[in-house]
């Protein structure tokens, strides 16, 4: 008689055994894990000729900085970019998926993608997951109908705004925008304002930090300024960085290859026969 199936479901399908265990643990007083804070400052604004998006570059895992220089501005279409706050995996996956759908749509229609299309595809997806896909996005782009800027919340609601901020540093950045934004900004003024807003988030919010990324989208053109500003450079005790002056003497050199060198020869495949 075999000792089989302690935790193999009898007939396939979901096994609810662990749910019982979780309930028992909660009853005994264990606190279930809470959501990780979003820890980002992302902003966008509409200027005279188009849209400028900005983001910080810190990715956090609780109290630890997981990535000091990550990319939060995601490509959606040649004329549309999207900043993402929230769970990094969720923002990456959802923007990747919608960018793929937009590309197929472009082939079918033969036209450039519109920002409202990206917006609707994103919000439908997020709503159908009832907020469990934790992605808060700032979507901006310039299409045939002009420049557009939208915010999308994890539950699927959206706003259309002339300037927007999201993430844990959003209040710090919004204070800068509310004080200094005006319509008809030039490109340089717009970039300066966006950089200022992101810096405000970087310096005043724990969840945001490192560098400033900026993306400028105008009609027919886009500029991705990666690490536009680096207000937090690495500093070393000595201004020259580390250098090891005392050199060790080399007495003997012996190199042992740890991996076999494999020669790969290509065999061209034959075409199928009928």
């Amino acid at each position: 008689m075999s000792q089989s199936s302690y935790d193999v479901p009898a007939k396939g399908g979901f096994s609810f055994d662990l749910c019982k265990r979780n309930d028992m643990l909660i009853q005994k007083g264990l606190k279930s894990p809470s959501f990780l804070k979003t820890g980002t400052t992302i902003v966008g604004l509409i200027f005279k000729d188009g849209v400028i998006l900005g983001a910080d570059t810190r990715a956090t895992e609780g109290p630890i900085v997981a990535d000091k220089n990550c990319e939060k501005i995601h490509y959606m279409a040649p004329n549309i970019y999207c900043c993402g706050a929230g769970t990094a995996a969720d923002t990456e996956a959802v923007t990747d998926m919608v960018s793929s759908q937009l590309r197929l749509h472009r082939y079918q229609t033969g036209r450039d993608s519109r920002v409202i299309t990206a917006l609707t595809l994103l919000k439908k997806h997020l709503f159908s997951y009832q907020g469990h896909v934790s992605a808060a996005l700032v979507l901006g782009g310039v299409d045939i109908t002009g420049p557009h800027l939208h915010t999308i919340y994890p539950h699927g609601s959206t706003d259309t705004l002339p300037f927007a901020t999201m993430g844990s540093g959003s209040l710090a950045a919004m204070s800068v925008f509310e004080a200094k934004y005006k319509e008809g900004l030039t490109r340089d003024e717009g970039i300066k304002l966006v950089a200022e807003a992101i810096c405000s988030g970087i310096f005043n919010d724990l969840g945001s930090g490192s560098n400033v990324d900026i993306c400028v989208i105008t009609k027919g053109n886009k500029e991705y300024l990666r690490n536009y500003m680096e207000p937090n450079p690495r500093t070393y005790v000595s201004s020259n960085g580390y250098s090891f002056t005392k050199k060790t003497e080399v007495l003997r050199t012996k190199i042992t290859p740890l991996m076999e060198r494999v020669e790969i020869t290509e065999v061209t495949g034959e075409a199928m026969e009928e």
Binding site: D96, M97, R103, L104, Y107, Q108, G269, A271, M272, E274
Partner: protein, 235 residues
């Protein structure tokens, strides 16, 4: 795929071991408008006749040569609506590959997946085979490539090939004219001359379509003005 009433395949073997439906599909292809492709040393060109059923049809709205990816294009002979469906499926497959592996799909892979779709329709319930043969032209890391895919789902790599009404004349012409070290522009001239061989009436930029891809790996359909230039050079 297929109504629940028809869970059996409509494509069945004949006593001689042939799949008669596929033979008929090839006949449908053979009565379609001529199309051809030539692989040059530095690119691929595909071309087709664009005979419209009446002078009242707006020829700008008809596009027989389609993009599957930025570096792969396709042309057909046979039934237009079947072609549309295949193009849509192929584009989706190329996009899925790109999402999964984050690299542009190699030409052979896309051809294989399209051929698999065509084969599925010869072995499923309640559906008929596609009435098109495709010529897929692409340029990837392995260089320029030209593939033909038939309604049965079999595919071949060609240096030069033709399909449709005038296939035997066109292939003879291509066999004589083809050289291994042909350049893309020569190939375009040869393609035009081959189309001219069996053309009824006056050949012009309004009743042929040409698509090309060079070492820049960008597939483009030539504009009527560009076709006029090539036609003038050929004269």
């Amino acid at each position: 795929m297929g109504d629940s009433q028809y869970s059996f395949s409509l494509t069945t073997f004949s006593p001689s071991g042939k799949l008669v439906q596929i033979e008929h599909a090839l006949t449908a292809v053979g009565s379609g408008q001529t199309s051809l492709g030539i692989k040059a040393s530095n690119g691929v060109v595909i071309a087709t006749e664009k005979k419209l059923p009446s002078i009242l049809v707006d020829e700008a709205s008809v596009q027989k040569i389609q993009h599957l990816t930025p570096n792969i294009g396709v042309v057909y002979s046979g039934m237009g609506p079947d072609f549309r469906v295949l193009v849509r499926k192929s584009r989706k497959q190329a996009e899925q590959y790109n999402r999964l592996y984050k690299e542009p799909i190699p030409v052979t892979q896309l051809v294989r997946e399209t051929a698999t779709v065509m084969q599925e329709f010869t072995q499923s319930g309640g559906v008929r085979p596609f009435g098109v043969s495709l010529l897929v032209a692409g340029y990837d890391d392995k260089g320029p490539q030209l593939y033909q895919v038939d309604p049965s789902g079999s595919y071949f790599s060609w240096k030069a090939s033709a399909m449709g009404k005038n296939v035997s004349n066109a292939k003879t012409f291509l066999e004589k004219r083809y050289t291994e070290d042909m350049e893309l522009d020569d190939a375009i001239h040869t393609a035009i001359l081959t189309l001219k061989e069996g053309f009824e009436g006056e050949i012009s930029s309004k009743n042929i379509e040409i698509g090309k891809i060079g070492a820049d790996k960008i597939f483009r359909v030539l504009t009527p003005a560009e076709i006029d230039d090539y036609l003038a050079e050929v004269e």
